[in-house]
């Protein structure tokens, strides 16, 4: 039973990353009509930011948690201003190709300087150790990742679904021209949205650094899993992405316990099943 709970926890943690990443993808897709293939690379850069902040500037985990998303967010906004905005009116697929190219560049550069092996990043002192919950031993840092991710996800949901800024955002997703006519600066909102989306990816990167180490290719495989998550959940609903992300993480964790050979593939198999039964994805709206 111990092992089962441990795998469930691992599943929840992976689910937190899936949720944060697919949430960012969905927000970006809503505003920019781009599937951000560079999301995995920016997740990796978020982790590297934490590493650099610690080893160069001497700023610890808590500063990284705040600064890395901001740095990567600004970097993302520069990318949006200099490149993505030029392909705004074109077919969605050009966005995919452009960001795929960006991902190759970013991962290639980091691989050149840091190889393929992992760099260690220590768990902060305040979150060391663990608790005995009676039925299992819970490392505090892992519990923290799940709770904090959940809080960030819900805060993002609140920002988009319940605030005035979010209302502008949703309106601009539906009809940007009309929203501009009301005097709202839509291009600036698009830039900020991209910054927010990749900032979430960077946050996931910082959270994952102490668990998975900092590796140049850490985002390469996870982004494809997140694509499958997005196909399963659909990008129409924010809450949908959050729930699907966590749920698939848990299912993956359970598979690791009951049938480890399939743990790499279970999300993709589920995607196939969902497509066969309900092609529009679980949250419904057709693309």
């Amino acid at each position: 039973m111990q092992a089962l709970y441990a795998q469930l926890l691992v599943g929840l943690i992976n689910g937190s990353f899936y949720a944060l990443l697919s949430l960012g993808l969905a927000v970006i897709f809503g505003m920019l009509n781009i599937i951000n293939f560079a999301h995995g690379a920016l997740y990796m850069i978020g982790a590297f930011c934490a590493y650099f902040l610690l080893n160069i500037a001497g700023l610890g985990y808590w500063w990284a948690l705040l600064l890395a998303p901001i740095i990567v967010g600004i970097f993302g906004m520069v990318l949006e201003r200099t490149m993505l905005q030029w392909i705004a009116g074109l077919d969605h697929l050009y966005g995919l190709l452009l960001t795929f190219g960006l991902a190759l560049i970013l991962q290639g550069v980091f691989q050149n300087f840091f190889g393929s092996s992992g760099l260690p990043y220590a768990i902060p002192d305040q979150l060391r150790g663990g608790m005995n919950l009676g039925f299992m031993f819970l490392p505090i840092y892992r519990g923290w990742v799940v709770v904090f991710s959940l809080v960030v996800c819900i805060a993002t949901w609140f920002l988009i679904e319940r605030t005035r800024l979010g209302a502008y955002l949703r309106a601009a997703t539906e009809n940007p021209t009309l929203v501009r006519a009301f005097g709202i600066n839509v291009p600036r909102m698009i830039t900020l949205t991209y910054g927010l989306g990749v900032g979430l990816a960077a946050l996931a990167g910082v959270l994952s650094a102490p668990i998975n180490q900092v590796r140049p290719l850490m985002g390469e495989n996870i982004i494809i899993v997140v694509f499958a998550v997005v196909v399963i959940g659909g990008m129409g609903s924010i809450m949908g992405s959050i729930i699907t992300g966590f749920a698939l993480g848990v299912i993956e964790g359970l598979t690791k316990y009951f049938y480890p050979e399939a743990s790499n593939t279970v999300v993709f198999v589920l995607m196939v099943l969902v497509l066969l039964v309900k092609p529009t994805g679980l949250t419904g709206r057709a693309a």
């Binding site: 897709f29 599937i35 490149m83 030029w86 392909i87 009116g89 074109l90 077919d91 969605h92 697929l93 050009y94 995919l96 190709l97 452009l98 795929f100 190219g101 960006l102 991902a103 190759l104 560049i105 970013l106 991962q107 290639g108 550069v109 691989q111 050149n112 390469e220 495989n221 494809i224 899993v225 694509f227 499958a228 997005v230 196909v231 050979e261 790499n264 593939t265 993709f268 198999v269 995607m271 196939v272 497509l275 066969l276 092609p279 529009t280 693309a287």
Partner: protein, 322 residues
């Protein structure tokens, strides 16, 4: 908004005549390669990738479907052919047939799943399916995991052609490439191809005109996947191995890059693109990970600066269809 390619020149009879002339020139140039002193293995490899890129282009350029997992057909056919040749000891022609049959079956299954969604979702689904297959091949015993299938015998084609001789092998690969290329060329100029283009331009309207677009898309997907498989089978004879690198996402990206550089939706673009990218891989092999950075830069430059690709720009300049 629905069209990915900017190379949408209609094909009047003159265009087809132009394309036939270029085809004859291309075939003649390729036929004299063994006498020019060019390294035949380089050209053979490029021809395999050219066929692969042409098959990919049939989907994206004429059907508007971006498959980001086309490497799965290359790899599957490669594994099937390699297994048939080495373990079952089949002759080359049957080995190729086994490979093509493997990719045919795979394309029926994956096509049936992936055409259920359009546009961006289609790209993500094909990518995820190829990743699924990658993990299966990583664990399946017959692929030998990370090692791949090595030292595959080339054998005698039809019992008379010695495929271990580079020149003989070259012409066999060339015939395979030209046959696949002509089949694609015939397809895009057929009534079927016209319907496919109409789906690319406006699927809703094609449906309202009574076309069962799902069937057309599935058929195009199967044709594309099967021909990509032919490229994979031929590649086994050239490389004499079948390995996981042929199923990786990076390979799928490379196929997209070749077609993008040459020109999406052009007849000859994928061939030009494949030769350029394969040559680049060879010359830059010593630069390690910088090759990846260069590839990424080409991606970005192509999307931002010249979306028509090389052949597309030339065709646009001369106002011809190529």
């Amino acid at each position: 908004m629905t069209t990915i390619t900017e190379n949408t020149v209609p094909a009047p009879p003159r265009a087809i005549r132009d394309e036939m002339i270029v085809f004859v020139i291309m075939a003649a140039l390729l036929a004299i390669v063994p006498f020019t002193g060019l390294y035949p293995f380089f050209v053979m490899q490029a021809l395999c990738f050219a066929l692969l890129a042409c098959a990919f282009n049939l989907l994206i350029g004429y059907g508007g479907l971006l498959s980001f997992g086309h490497a799965m057909f290359l790899g599957t056919a490669g594994y099937c052919t390699a297994h048939a040749l080495k373990v079952w000891g089949l002759p080359p022609m049957l080995g190729i047939l086994v490979g093509v049959a493997g990719s045919f079956v795979l394309s029926v299954v994956t096509g049936y799943i992936s055409i259920r969604r359009q546009g961006i979702y289609f790209a993500m689904i094909t990518l995820a399916l190829s990743q699924l297959l990658y993990f299966i091949y990583l664990q399946a015993p017959f692929t030998h995991g990370e090692d791949g299938i090595q030292g595959i015998p080339q054998g005698w084609m039809f019992g008379v052609l010695d495929l271990s001789k580079p020149t003989v092998l070259y012409y066999v690969v060339l015939v395979g490439f030209l046959a696949g290329f002509l089949l694609i060329f015939r397809t895009i100029n057929s009534p079927f191809g016209e319907v496919l283009k109409s789906i690319r331009e406006n699927e809703q309207r094609a449906i309202s005109l009574g076309y069962k677009t799902d069937q057309y898309k599935l058929l195009a997907f199967i044709l594309s996947g099967t021909l990509a498989g032919l490229a994979g089978s031929l590649k086994v004879f050239v490389a004499q191995n079948a390995s996981l690198t042929d199923v990786e996402v990076a390979m799928s990206g490379l196929i997209v890059l070749m077609t993008l550089v040459g020109g999406l939706g052009t007849v000859f673009g994928p061939v030009v693109g494949a030769f350029i990218i394969v040559a680049m891989q060879q010359y830059l092999a010593g630069f390690g990970q910088w090759v990846q950075v260069i590839q990424g830069t080409i991606f970005v430059a192509c999307v931002l600066l010249f979306r028509r690709g090389i052949v597309g720009e030339i065709a646009h300049f001369f106002k011809r269809s190529l």
